[in-house]
C-alpha cells in the first residue's frame, strides 16, 4: 500500500487547534505527505506545534473566542496559507455545526462529519431519539426536552431518584446536575436551564435516571463515505474528576466480552443510522448488572484515542484524513484485532490537593518518561509557559503491555520517572500514581465515583 501520492484531493491541512492534539495532527499529516499549517494565538507563539508545522499563521490574542474559536480568523488563515482542509482536533470548534457549514460554504474540507450530522448528534435530544429508534438501550428518561418544572417533577418521580438534568446542547461533563432529593428539583432544574443558556446559548434540558456507581465505557468507531463502518474496541473512562476523564484504558477490565461486542455492534448500527462519516465515539454507561445504556456521541477524535491506537495498531488520525479525502475504509471488521492492554493517564497542570484547580506557570523542569511501550503525547518542554487561558492538559502518558496488571506496573514506572516542576505549578502526577495503586482500580472494582472517594479519603487522613 502506498502512502505518498495517495489521491487526497488536497495537499495542505490547517489545524484549528493547539497543544498536544495539534502536534498529533501535524505528525499524521507529515507521514501522509501532507503539508501542515499551525494557527496560534499570541501566547502560543513559541509552541511546539508552531515549531513543527510546515507553516504557521497568527490568528489572534489569547482569549479563545478571538482566536481558536473565531471562525473568520480560521477560515482566513486557511486562505492565507493555502490550506484546503481543516482538522479541528478536539474541543474548540471541533463539534460546531456552524463551523463545519462555513467550511463547506467556503470550499474548505472539514475533517469530521458533515454539518448536518454534527447538528443531529450534538442535540442530545435528537440523538437519543434516533438511537432509541434503531434499538440502542437508553436510561429511563426523556428524549424530548422538558421545559416545565411540574412536568419535570412528574417525570422524575416516574423514573425514580436520583435523576440527572442535562443540557440538550451540553457535553464533556458540562451542563448537567444530579438531583437526589425531590425537594431540590425545582431549584436545580431551573439552575441547570440557566447554566445551559449561559454556556451553550440553549436552555433546553432533559431528564435521565442517574447511576451513581456506573462504569463509563465508550466505543471507537470509524465510518467512510460509502456506508462502511467498523468499531475498534472499547475504552473504560470511569476514573473522572468532575465528570472529566483522568485515566482511560482498553479493554474495559472485568466486563463480559459479549457485552463489549454488543456495545460495538450498537455503536456501528447507531453510526450508520446517523449517516456518520469520520471518527466517532459512542459513550455508554454500564451499570452493576452489566447492562449498558447509550449516553451520547462525540463527533471528533478523543483525547484518549492513543489507547485504542496501541491495541489496534491503527493510526486513527491518519484514518480521519483518509476518510475526509474520500478514501474507503482500509479496514474490515475481522481485520481489527485487539492486542494486550493500554492505559492513558492525563497529566494536568492542576492541584489535586485543592480541588484540581489549574496551576498555570512556567516549567523549569520537564522530563517525560520513555522506554519500551510508553508513549507520551505532549506539547510541553523545559521553559514552556502553561497559559492560564486554555485547558490544563500537559501530557498524556500512554502505556501498552500484554495484560492489564503489567500495564499498571508499567504506568507506575512511567509516572515515577516523569519530572515536571515550575514555580506555582502542580500536577496530577501523584494523584495518578495513587490511582494506579488504589486497590479498587487495581482489582477493577471501581466506578465513576472513584476519584471522589479517593479525594475524601485523602482529606480524611
Amino acid at each position: 500500500m502506498s502512502n505518498r501520492g495517495d489521491p487526497f484531493g488536497f495537499d495542505t491541512v490547517l489545524i484549528a487547534n493547539r497543544g498536544e492534539i495539534a502536534l498529533r495532527v501535524i505528525r499524521a499529516c507529515r507521514e501522509l505527505g501532507l503539508r501542515s499549517v499551525a494557527v496560534y494565538s499570541t501566547v502560543d507563539r513559541d509552541s511546539l506545534a508552531v515549531r513543527l508545522a510546515d507553516d504557521r499563521v497568527a490568528i489572534g490574542p489569547a482569549p479563545a473566542r478571538n482566536s481558536y474559536l473565531s471562525i473568520p480568523a480560521i477560515v482566513e488563515a486557511a486562505r492565507h496559507s493555502g490550506a484546503q482542509a481543516i482538522h479541528p482536533g478536539y474541543g474548540f470548534l471541533s463539534e460546531d455545526p456552524d463551523f463545519a457549514e462555513v467550511c463547506e460554504a467556503e470550499g474548505l474540507l472539514f475533517i469530521g462529519p458533515p454539518a448536518k450530522v454534527l447538528a443531529r448528534l450534538g442535540d442530545k435530544s435528537t440523538a437519543r431519539a434516533l438511537m432509541s429508534k434503531v434499538g440502542l438501550p437508553l436510561l429511563p428518561g426523556t428524549t424530548e426536552p422538558v421545559s416545565d418544572v411540574t412536568e419535570a417533577e412528574r417525570i422524575a418521580s416516574e423514573i425514580g431518584y436520583p435523576v440527572i438534568v442535562k443540557a440538550v446542547a451540553g457535553g464533556g461533563g458540562r451542563g448537567m446536575s444530579v438531583i437526589t432529593d425531590p425537594a431540590d428539583l425545582q431549584r436545580i432544574f431551573q439552575q441547570t436551564q440557566a447554566n445551559a443558556l449561559a454556556l451553550f446559548g440553549d436552555s433546553r434540558v432533559y431528564l435521565e435516571r442517574y447511576l451513581p456507581t456506573a462504569r463509563h465505557v465508550e466505543i471507537q468507531v470509524l465510518c467512510d463515505r460509502y456506508g462502511n463502518a467498523v468499531w475498534l474496541g472499547a475504552r473504560d473512562c470511569s476514573v473522572q474528576r468532575r465528570r472529566q476523564k483522568l485515566v482511560e484504558e482498553t479493554p474495559p477490565p472485568g466486563l463480559n466480552p459479549a457485552l463489549i461486542e454488543r456495545m460495538g455492534e450498537d455503536a456501528v448500527c447507531g453510526a450508520l443510522a446517523a449517516e456518520y462519516v469520520g471518527a466517532a465515539t459512542f459513550e455508554f454507561l454500564v451499570d452493576d448488572q452489566g447492562r449498558h445504556y447509550f449516553m451520547e456521541v462525540n463527533c471528533r477524535i478523543q483525547v484518549e484515542h492513543p489507547v485504542t491506537e496501541m491495541v489496534t495498531g491503527v493510526d486513527l488520525v491518519a484514518e480521519q484524513l483518509r476518510i475526509a479525502a474520500g478514501q474507503p475504509l482500509s479496514l474490515r471488521q475481522p481485520e481489527i484485532t485487539l492486542q494486550g492492554a493500554a492505559i492513558e493517564c492525563r497529566v494536568n497542570a492542576e492541584d489535586p490537593q485543592r480541588g484540581f484547580i489549574p496551576t498555570p506557570g512556567r516549567l523549569t523542569e520537564y522530563w517525560p518518561p520513555a522506554g519500551p511501550f510508553v508513549r507520551v503525547d505532549s506539547h510541553a518542554f523545559p521553559g514552556y509557559e502553561i497559559p492560564a487561558t486554555y485547558d490544563p492538559l500537559l501530557a498524556k502518558v500512554v502505556v501498552w503491555a500484554p495484560d492489564r496488571p503489567r500495564a499498571i506496573v508499567r504506568m507506575r514506572r512511567a509516572l515515577s520517572e516523569f519530572t515536571v516542576s515550575g514555580p506555582g505549578v502542580a500536577t496530577t502526577l501523584d494523584f495518578l500514581d495513587a490511582v494506579m495503586r488504589d486497590p479498587r482500580f487495581v482489582s477493577a472494582t471501581h466506578d465513576t465515583s472513584l476519584v471522589d472517594q479517593m479525594t475524601s479519603e485523602r482529606t480524611a487522613q
Binding site: 499570541t42 502560543d44 499563521v57 490574542p61 482566513e76 488563515a77 467556503e106 506557570g361 509557559e385
Partner: protein, 186 residues
C-alpha cells in the same frame, strides 16, 4: 498607545514565586526580551532598570545577534514591537525615546485581506506623507466578506505602507509605519 498586541505578549510574567520582587523582575526581564526582539539591529548592550531591579546584557563585539538559536520559537512572522524604559518607575517602560521610538506600527487586528482603498480602482485611503488623526480610516481588512476598517489611533504621519494591496495578513502583522506627531513636536 498603539500596543501591537499579539505580537509580543507570551512572556506575560505570571509565576512570580517570591513575591513582589520576583514579579517585578519577571516584568523587567520580559521587557528586555521584548525590546531585544523589537529593535531592528542587534545591540551590543542592553540595560533595563526599574526601581532597584535591573537587567543587563552585553554581547562580544563582532558576534552580534542574528536570530533563532537557543530555543525554537519560530521567529514569529511580523514580530515587531515596542519597549525600553529610560527611567520609568515600573512598567511605563513600554515606551520609547530615540530612533526606533519615533516609529510606531499600526498592526492587523485580525487575519484577513488588506485593502488600501474603499473599492477596487478607487484612490487609497492614505499615502505615505499623509497626516492622520485618531479614528481616521486608513485601510480595510476583509475576513469572510466582513469588511473591518483599519483606523489610526494616534496623531501621526504615515511613513510607510508595509503591505501590498490585496495581500493576506496575519493577526498582529504591522500594516503601516507611523511617525507620531507628539514625537515630532518634541
Amino acid at each position: 498607545m498603539t500596543e501591537p498586541a499579539g505580537v509580543v505578549s507570551t512572556g506575560g510574567g505570571t509565576t512570580g514565586g517570591a513575591g513582589a520582587v520576583g514579579e517585578l523582575l519577571d516584568v523587567v526581564r520580559a521587557s528586555t526580551t521584548r525590546l531585544l526582539s523589537s529593535v531592528p539591529l542587534p545591540p551590543q548592550v542592553i540595560r533595563v532598570r526599574a526601581g532597584d531591579v535591573a537587567v543587563e546584557l552585553e554581547w562580544p563585539v563582532g558576534g552580534t545577534a542574528d536570530s533563532g538559536l537557543t530555543m525554537p520559537g519560530p521567529v514569529a512572522p511580523g514580530s515587531a514591537s515596542i519597549a525600553s524604559g529610560t527611567q520609568p518607575p515600573a512598567l511605563a517602560a513600554a515606551e520609547s525615546t530615540d530612533t526606533t521610538e519615533t516609529t510606531r506600527y499600526l498592526t492587523a487586528s485580525m487575519v484577513g485581506v488588506f485593502y488600501r482603498a474603499p473599492e477596487p480602482g478607487a484612490k487609497p485611503f492614505v499615502e505615505p506623507g499623509d497626516l492622520v488623526v485618531p479614528g481616521q480610516q486608513v485601510a480595510i481588512l476583509e475576513a469572510m466578506k466582513l469588511m473591518v476598517p483599519v483606523e489610526a489611533d494616534i496623531h501621526a504621519r504615515i511613513v510607510e505602507v508595509l503591505v501590498e494591496n490585496g495581500q493576506s495578513v496575519e493577526y498582529g502583522q504591522p500594516l503601516f509605519a507611523l511617525a507620531p506627531l507628539e514625537a515630532e513636536g518634541e
